[in-house]
Symmetry: C2
Subunit: 433 residues, 2 copies
């Protein structure tokens, strides 16, 4: 059984009830969303110690943190600390993208410690092992690719990124258009090279049924990767990207027919005036499948601040219907994120998710801001701090500059505080009861 | 003479030529924009030691940094350091909002040291002096208000915020609607109280001609303040806010008729799905006058990160036509900004301005991202750092994690870098020449 199969039968599962409770919605709303493919419930059936996570239409926009070792930075403890920090900062999901040291060990420790769902990109490990064995990456075999996927699923990984839309056809379309940045997705570049050098079709596309079968067995969620996501503003929304999306749309329906839950991954680097169109396109072409975006980053020139460029695009994306935001940290384009980058990345992305939720009317979002505003109007500082997305940082900043002139104000306006002034006389109260 | 009067006569002034040069546009384009009221050239005719700044249609979106003492934090040196930091970080304009210590001295030192245009909100000083004299703020006299304005203009201040749209009519409309946060603009709250307690019309509205006369004398720019800007998501775009905007639209035309240049100030706290409508409304109602926005902040719950919430709204605003963004710092809602907050605030706001400029097709914006992308594709790290909005921060992050496995990559992907992989073989080059 899978959540999708049960939903289509009209059955409300324990997972659907749990997601409904988390979201403050009716179980039937969740069941219908899953049946329609608009909601994915992420949790591998071997990974029952964590709560399931609902991603999709009508639900709160979720936030993912990428962690994991690289070939340069391999310390397990550091990645486990990032896991802690990400979860404490409010990440809804973790992706382990390890490519350095003992990646099986890192993954198993992350699975053990994580209290939220875990995703991976299994082809990273297959590529790494090929590379480590002294062969060029394009020499990895179809069985190595699929065996790697099965291993991750058997470990209980809840969602896997698979770049099934990188095909001879989409590579061709990318090439006829031309690009400034080529392929910037790691998985996308492995498979593009694989197709071109081996002169064969992408096994993840060719043998998609094999992938569906193993994913179904664990009721994991397929996250159909965007191997051709634009890596710069100039490449956004080009024919290569959209060709891949069209293929992913077809694969989405094949997955649903097989009872497998699907998400679609999306860009990337996109100018702000193209973000909404990207969301509309994905929703239409993939028939409402949940959309998982990386950013989008609205400019290329802000390394060091890409948590901000991503939060900008992410807000507009979430407001337009994106369901799941992958964080970007200040380290993006410069280095593997350090622990402090993880915190900053999550906070910026949570802001984007929440600001999007206000706009798309997600249950409870508007009320959070209303609560803050009432505390602010009442000059209730403890209440304000408690209503903050990061109470610790808010308290730190407030405590660093204690108001003397007017204790209930702050050091910006002091006694000239507009709140104080307007609260003073009954005759000037503008608040409607 | 004023820039507007000359432009309407068909004369291209030295200031128009200088702005044209800064923007890479034709002087006639600037002249026509000024004549139409779509561009304001900011520089008081007593302040010729700094270059004039063009703000408006077709020009780069500009960024302002608010600095200045408060009653709690009065150190002059600290504000001068903020001035330095703001200008080094790329601020196009500074507002001195001092309300603590010797505010005349602070303003004169800022005017002396600033290499960019300076704006003020003269009524802050009038209110402060009234307060310091032991009278309630609403007791400030009409002459005290106007004399304060004249003093700032005579000091060479380039643009002044004046809340002329806070009138009996707009207060009435605000009251019939009701608000969660009342009036959060300081100037707005002073004048609302003034109107209600004195049962008289706002002198800045009633004697608008007096204001025009003194502004014209110095060819300063009137920045018509939004006393009723929403202070929370729930108050955005309400009848009080829009009533004030309608009045500002009328005053804009009166100013233009008198040969005085005008900008309009705008919100504030606005949900992301209302930002574009706010810009469209202002542009239509104020007949294309430049729009100067504070944020907008797209959620109320992120104190500590309001430079990000403002950058999100600011990007969408700039893309939709906002011309001038006032920075918001991480300290907003918590304390007077410290020096480090100023840097963060400017960087976030510059990102918003630039991302907006890409979308609205401002000359040169797209090319900056293209340049970065070409350096990135070539794995030219020095070139990438030089193309960054904050090269120092980018270098610091890159240098903190030196790649060992593959020197031309970074510690995130190392040898598994998609750029490296795609650059390797001629047969897989997708870049169109």
């Amino acid at each position: 059984m899978t959540q999708l199969i049960e939903a289509r039968k009209g059955n409300i599962t324990a997972e659907m009830k749990e997601v409904a409770l988390q979201e403050g919605l009716e179980p039937e709303f969740i069941r219908k969303g899953v049946a329609d493919g608009n909601i994915a419930i992420c949790r591998n059936n071997k990974h029952k110690k964590i709560p399931p996570l609902g991603i999709g239409k009508g639900l709160k926009t979720k936030v993912n943190a990428n962690i994991g070792t690289s070939r340069d930075i391999k310390e397990l403890d550091c990645e486990l600390e990032k896991l802690d920090v990400a979860i404490k900062a409010g990440a809804d999901a973790i992706m382990d993208l390890s490519t350095g040291g003992d990646v099986d060990l890192v993954r198993s420790r992350i699975m053990e410690k994580s209290t939220v769902i875990v995703g991976t990109v299994p082809i990273y490990q297959a590529a790494l092992e090929t590379f480590n064995s002294g062969r060029p990456i394009f020499k990895m075999t179809e069985d190595e690719i699929f065996d790697g996927i099965e291993k991750h699923l058997a470990d209980g990984v809840d969602f896997i990124t698979v770049h099934c839309g990188v095909t001879k056809e989409s590579v061709h379309r990318l090439r006829t258009e031309g690009r400034i940045m080529d392929v910037v997705s790691r998985g996308g570049s492995f498979l593009t090279e694989w197709i071109l050098k081996n002169k064969k079709e992408n096994p993840l596309f060719e043998d998609f049924d094999r992938l569906l079968e193993m994913t179904k067995k664990y009721d994991a969620v397929l996250s159909l990767g965007d191997g051709f996501r634009p890596g710069c503003i100039a490449d956004a929304t080009d024919r290569g990207q959209i060709q891949e999306l069209l293929i992913l749309g077809e694969l989405t329906e094949r997955a649903w027919d097989a009872g497998v839950q699907v998400m679609i991954e999306g860009p990337g680097h996109v100018p702000i005036n193209q973000v909404e169109a990207n969301i509309l396109l994905q929703k239409r072409i993939c028939h409402g499948a949940p959309f998982y975006v990386l950013g989008p980053l609205v400019t290329d020139i802000a390394p060091g601040y890409d948590h901000i460029t991503a939060a900008i695009g992410g807000t507009v994306a979430a407001a337009a219907g994106a369901d799941f935001l992958c964080y970007v940290t200040p380290a993006e384009h410069l280095r593997l994120p350090a622990v402090e980058d993880v915190h900053e990345g999550i906070m910026a992305t949570r802001i984007a998710a929440h600001a999007g939720d206000i706009a798309k009317g997600v249950k409870g979002a508007w009320e959070m801001d209303l609560e803050m505003s009432r505390k602010r109007k009442a000059l209730d500082w403890e209440g304000q701090i408690a209503a903050c997305i990061d109470p610790d940082k808010a308290r730190r900043l407030r405590d660093s500059a204690v108001p003397m002139d007017a204790e209930d104000a702050c050091t910006m306006c002091a006694a000239l505080c507009s709140m104080k002034l307007m609260n003073e006389g009954e005759d000037q109260k503008l608040v409607k009861k």
